[in-house]
Structure formats: structure tokens, C-alpha cells
Point group: C2
């Protein structure tokens, strides 16, 4: 019967997430993480394989908890504009009131390692593309549901929404005032005819 792990794997994922969110990827070495988790490097390799594998797992964990998940849960037929509005409202609140972290783990990652050709970078790029595709789908539903004019450029609007998300997530590294973040979001949403409270 196998020996059981000395540490709680789910908890470790959480701890590592906070570490790379705070210090970035390059600064989160196997040695540093192992010390943080109070395990030897041997245990690290055994449990997680390598850094990239672990980071991907951390991202999956992170993705399940971001405001963007709201967009994933919408079903066709629901009103779309309030979903966008509420999601961004929430995103601004979370980013502004997060005293532990800065910005968004995923977008920070895109900026830090997005240019490299590592598997993790590809993974992050795919995530962004999926988000954009989802935004496009929602906008298409909004158009079909009469929330948007028939001549709306769905692709352009989706890219603008994606850009809005990305910008807010990065800008929140610097601007920590919820009112200002929300003002930027609201102004853009209104301009894009996606604001509805």
C-alpha cells in the first residue's frame, strides 16, 4: 500500500498560485516553491512532475475562480448585456480590493512569458483565444436576441470586449481605485453598447 503524501495537494496548488501571482513565473523556482510548501525538491518532482506542469495546473485552478467564469455559465436565451456589465463590475471590485495580489494571474502571465514558445505560453494564448471566442458567441446571441443591431460587427465587438478585459486586468496592477477601474470599464461598455444595469 503506498505511502500517502505529507502535504495537501489542493492546498499546495493554492499556495503556489499565490506565489506566482505575487512574484511572477521566473522568480518561482522549484527550490523556492518546495521551501514554501515545506517539502523537498524530490517530493516536488514526484508530485508535480516539473514546473510547467504545475503551473498549468495552477492556471486551471485559477481559471475556475475568475469573474470570467460568469461568461461561461450563460445559456442561450438569457439577456447578455447585463452579464457583461455585471462581470466587469465584479472584476473591477475584485482587482481593486485584492490586497494580496496585483493584476490578474493569467494576463500577467501573458505579458511575462507570452512571447516565449513554452508550452505554458501556448496554453495561456489558447485561454485568451477561447475567451475571445466565448465573447463572440455571447455577442452573437445578443444580436439574435435583439439586444444589438443587426449590422453589429460581431468579430470587432468581441475583440473590443476582450481588449477591455485584458486592459483592465493589467491596468489594475497600477490603478487600485475601484471607482476608476469601473469608470474605465463603464465608459467603454457604454461606448460599445454593452452596458445594461
Amino acid at each position: 500500500m503506498p505511502r500517502s503524501t505529507k502535504f495537501d495537494r489542493d492546498k499546495a496548488i493554492e499556495i503556489v498560485m499565490h506565489k506566482i501571482w505575487k512574484d511572477g513565473f521566473q522568480s518561482s523556482s522549484v527550490k523556492a516553491i518546495s521551501e514554501l510548501l515545506r517539502i523537498t525538491r524530490s517530493s516536488f518532482y514526484n508530485a508535480f512532475g516539473d514546473r510547467e506542469t504545475l503551473f498549468k495546473e495552477v492556471f486551471a485552478h485559477y481559471s475556475a475562480t475568475t469573474p470570467l467564469m460568469n461568461l461561461m455559465l450563460v445559456e442561450q436565451g438569457e439577456t447578455v448585456k447585463p452579464v457583461f456589465t455585471k462581470t466587469l463590475r465584479e472584476l473591477c471590485a475584485i482587482r481593486a480590493n485584492d490586497s494580496l495580489h496585483s493584476g490578474c494571474l493569467a494576463m500577467n502571465g501573458v505579458a511575462e512569458i507570452g512571447g516565449s514558445d513554452s508550452e505554458l505560453a501556448c496554453f495561456l494564448q489558447q485561454q485568451l483565444a477561447l475567451s475571445n471566442a466565448r465573447a463572440e458567441e455571447l455577442i452573437r446571441w445578443a444580436l439574435e436576441g435583439g439586444e444589438l443591431a443587426a449590422d453589429t460587427n460581431v468579430e470587432g465587438l468581441a475583440l473590443a470586449v476582450t481588449n477591455l478585459f485584458v486592459g483592465l486586468n493589467i491596468m489594475s496592477n497600477v490603478i487600485k481605485d475601484e471607482g476608476q477601474l469601473w469608470l474605465a470599464a463603464k465608459t467603454t461598455l457604454q461606448g460599445l453598447n454593452l452596458f445594461a444595469e
Copy 2:
């Protein structure tokens, strides 16, 4: 009479800029940079002091060459919307066609180290705040010049513009198609009533 340097300092700044743009800050060690410049670490420390000081100098150099400089050169009385439009048009073209780099050095930096309390992070944060203030000033001029309605929320519009810049600069790490980048920018500019070709 002092000995002169063996290397061209301006050229060194340029080389270091490309290095950190490609590999990020943490990965650009004194050792790596010295090897890249083909100088000893002793010369590095003597010429540049330390990494942070050098990176700040690199940023000053970079700032002088980004499309955002267009906004700095506008004078009161000029028409503002075409300046925004042209600047963003140019930014999308540069980012899409840059095969050496990914994204924007400054915004990548904000994401990578923006959460830390280093001097460099503070420097980057100030740069972003200055950009936003400048956008606000231009928008105010546009309003006074009749390009924008008198009830325009200047602060909100400036924040939205800043967010647009930030988003594009990060998104361009992933989306390399100039048409798509420009579509996102154009859609947003039109929505914000700042588009004029």
C-alpha cells in the same frame, strides 16, 4: 586623463532593451547582460551601477520611441481625434509587424513586476499615470475645441483610452494579426467617439 569605455553605451542600451523585451526582467541577469554586451561584470557595475538603474535608463530610451510619443507632441488647438486614431493605427501596425519582440516593453513590465515595490515598478506606474494624465489633457482640449460634447466625462474617457492602450499592448503578445488588433482598436475608438480618419 581617464580611460575611455571599450563599448558604445548607447548601443548597449539598445541591446539590453531588446533582451529584456524578449526575455523579461527576471531573466535578464547582470551576468547574462554582461555576456551579451561582451563586457565583464565589473565593467557593467562601473558603467551602469546596478540592474534597476540600467533598466530605468532602458525605459527612458524606449519611451522616446513608442507611438505614444505622438500624443506628447500635440499642441493645443490641433484636432485631437485624428491624433488618437492615427496613434492607435500606428501602434497596431508596429506591434503586429514586430517579429523581434512581443507586446510592449513597458506594459509587459507593469505586468511582470508591477506588484512589487521596487523603484522600477514605481517608475513604470508613474509612466502609466503620466500617460493617463496626458490623455485627459488631450480630451479636454478636444472638448474645448468642440470635437466632443460638453457633457463628456473627461476622466472616464481618459481612463477608457488608457485602458485601450494597455489592452492592445498586452493582447498583441498573443494576437499578431494587424487587422484584428486594429479592429479591436477601431471598434472601441468609434464607441468612445474618438475615431476620425
